[in-house]
Structures are given as structure tokens and as C-alpha cells.
């Protein structure tokens, strides 16, 4: 009975979705979006006043944002306040997880002992994954990636060590301190922007030439902070989930 009711409801929602979306005027067919008519065109031209200026990789200087990766320029420059909110949501959920697991002691143990090759091999791979994560969030304005995937890569390196070594422990207090300092620095950077050029989180540094490592003003700084914060938060979540068995 419940299943039939759910099936009817899902069918009604599906018909409404399909007919509603595809009869909507101006909704693009798949693969035929008109980017030149959307607000994104200003982000691609790196000029929100809608003057069509030319941006050339390695040549153009002193634009609104000097980031070669346009997605990064939206996340950390045009909509940076939004990103601050998202990082706060992640912090609150990590806080909730650690409150729920606060009374747990010890660590979960699997029934199978990790063998010698797994233990040694993961110790070789661990620093490589850490360096890869750091590379991804430092080069967030040039190549795909950025603070969010870089931070999660650091957390997954620590997950690998947890799985490979039974006695591996991180000093979680250091991670909590890193997270707090990174979050406070993000807000502080926004306040400095407010003092220098009258709006919160403005890009007050020199934006440089598009495509060089030291370009794009505060974007690499903010992305390094976001990467450290996300990495330490996710490490905290994983450490909390591995608690549980009283020794």
C-alpha cells in the first residue's frame, strides 16, 4: 500500500517536473545554453560593468580578478561571502558530530590485521598525497581544484593511515587549533578589505598577470586558508567516527 502510494506520488512529481521544466520559456535544451546572455559572461570577461574587455592568458594585467580559473574567481572573489557561509555550515556540522561522539573512548578495530606491505606502502604514499593536496590548493587559481578538494585530499591521506596502521593517532588538538586560526584569518582578511576599499572581502592586493603563480590578489591566500580549514574539519569528522570501542 505504502509502495503504491509512493509510486503514484513519484509519478505525479515526475510528470510535473518534466512538463514544467521543458515547457518553460527560455530554459535551454541540453547542450545549447546561451552563456553570452547570462550573468556568467561578466565573470568570464572579468568585468562586472558589462564592458567587453579582452582577457589574454599571460598578457592581461590588473583586472578585477587575475585568476585563470574562472570557477575559482567566482567562488573566492565574486561570491566569497557565500563561501564563508558554506565553511561555517561545515564547521557547525563537524561540531555536531563531535558533540554526539563526545563521550566515546578508544578506537574501532577491524577483525583483520593489516599486513607488512600495506603498512610500509601506505607510509610511502602518505607524504605524496599530502604534497598533492597542498599543490592542488596552492594552484587553485591556475588549474582545476582548489581549497575544497585539496583539503579533502589531506583528510583522505589521514584516513589511509588510520586504515593501514592500527596504532596511528593524530593529535586532534593541533588540527582543531589550525581550523580555528584559518577560520579567524579568513574573517580578518575580509575585515582588512572592508577597511581598505569599503566592502567586505574585497580583493585589495595587486592582481598581477593572468596565469602566473603570484597573481589574483587574495585568491590564493583565501584558498590556502579554506584548504587548511576543510582538511582539519574533515580529519576531525573521520577521527570522531573511528571512536567507539572501549578498550
Amino acid at each position: 500500500m505504502k509502495r503504491i502510494f509512493a509510486l503514484v506520488l513519484v509519478a505525479v512529481v515526475g510528470i510535473l517536473l518534466f512538463s514544467g521544466i521543458y515547457s518553460m520559456e527560455g530554459f535551454p535544451r541540453y547542450g545549447e545554453a546561451e552563456v553570452s546572455e547570462r550573468v556568467s559572461m561578466s565573470y568570464i570577461d572579468k568585468n562586472v560593468t558589462r564592458e567587453n574587455q579582452e582577457v589574454v592568458f599571460g598578457v592581461s594585467e590588473n583586472l578585477e580578478t587575475g585568476s585563470a580559473n574562472i570557477v575559482t574567481s567566482i567562488i573566492v572573489n565574486y561570491r566569497s561571502f557565500d563561501t564563508l557561509g558554506e565553511v561555517t555550515v561545515l564547521f557547525v556540522s563537524a561540531l555536531g558530530v563531535s558533540l554526539l561522539f563526545g563521550s566515546f573512548e578508544g578506537r574501532l578495530r577491524s577483525r583483520y590485521k593489516p599486513n607488512f606491505i600495506l603498512r610500509t606502502g601506505s607510509k610511502v604514499v602518505f607524504p605524496l598525497i599530502l604534497v598533492m593536496g597542498a599543490y592542488i590548493f596552492i594552484h587553485g587559481h591556475l588549474s582545476p581544484g582548489g581549497g575544497f578538494p585539496g583539503g579533502s585530499m589531506i583528510a583522505s591521506a589521514i584516513l589511509l593511515m588510520y586504515l593501514a596502521d592500527e596504532d596511528f593517532r593524530v593529535r586532534i588538538d593541533d588540527f582543531k587549533k589550525t581550523e580555528g586560526i584559518a577560520g579567524a584569518m579568513y574573517v580578518l582578511l575580509g575585515l582588512v578589505g572592508l577597511m581598505i576599499s569599503n566592502y567586505f572581502l574585497s580583493n585589495f592586493l595587486d592582481t598581477g598577470t593572468v596565469g602566473t603563480l603570484f597573481s589574483a590578489g587574495i585568491i590564493p591566500v583565501v584558498y590556502v586558508l579554506v584548504g587548511l580549514k576543510v582538511g582539519s574539519e574533515l580529519t576531525g569528522i573521520i577521527t570522531d567516527f573511528l571512536k567507539g570501542e572501549v578498550e
Binding site: 541540453y30 547570462r38 582577457v55 592568458f57 585563470a68 561522539f101 569528522i237
Partner: protein
């Protein structure tokens, strides 16, 4: 075609949310719902002749046809938030299991339900 798959994933997620009674299965359905939504939002900005929205030394000026970067920016942060909410839901599931000894929502009875 991937756009239709996104909408179908949303519908499958809704069906799972309505019919499942195990908490873990409900969180799995929620994850499928979210994946479908992400695929749909990305597909709205897709241009078939477009290139990825990154300037490189090959695709080096802004006169080229790019894929819409705005949906990608929105989805990128939403994925990380999805992990946070999933972790919080699973933490609640674990504390429910510790208190009631079951994951099935039908078997957890209040005092009035007996």
C-alpha cells in the same frame, strides 16, 4: 541525455525517502537525491561546443565559447556541505542505534505506541 538521468535520480531519491524504513537506507536515498540535483544543475550550464572554464596557454583568451562557470561554482561547495550533512545524519543514526538497538524506524516505538 545526462539531464534526464539527473531528473530520474531525483525521482528515485524521492521514492527511496518515502518507502524505506531503515535509517541508513534513508541517508543513502538522500545522497542519491543530492547527486541527481548536482548533475541536473551542472547540465543546465552545458554547451556542447564549449570548453572547460579555465584559461590555459592553449585556450588563452576570453572570446572562446566556455561552459557556464556559475553552476559549477555552486555545486562545488554543495558537495562538501553534502558530506557534512551525511556525517551528521550518520552520527544521529549511531546514537539512535545505541539507545534503541535497532535501525528500523517502524520498530522504534514511543511510550504511547507501546
Amino acid at each position: 541525455m545526462i539531464q534526464y538521468a539527473g531528473i530520474m535520480l531525483i525521482l528515485i531519491g524521492i521514492y527511496g525517502l518515502l518507502t524505506q524504513s531503515n535509517i541508513i537506507k534513508i541517508i543513502v536515498s538522500l545522497n542519491i537525491f543530492e547527486l541527481g540535483l548536482n548533475v541536473f544543475i551542472i547540465s543546465v550550464g552545458f554547451v556542447r561546443e564549449g570548453i572547460a572554464p579555465i584559461l590555459t596557454s592553449v585556450n588563452n583568451h576570453n572570446g572562446l565559447v566556455f561552459v557556464d562557470p556559475l553552476p559549477q561554482a555552486l555545486v562545488l561547495t554543495a558537495i562538501v556541505i553534502g558530506l557534512g550533512t551525511t556525517a551528521l545524519g550518520l552520527a544521529f543514526a549511531r546514537s539512535i542505534y545505541r539507545q534503541h538497538g535497532t535501525l528500523n524506524l517502524d520498530e522504534i516505538g514511543g511510550p504511547s505506541n507501546g
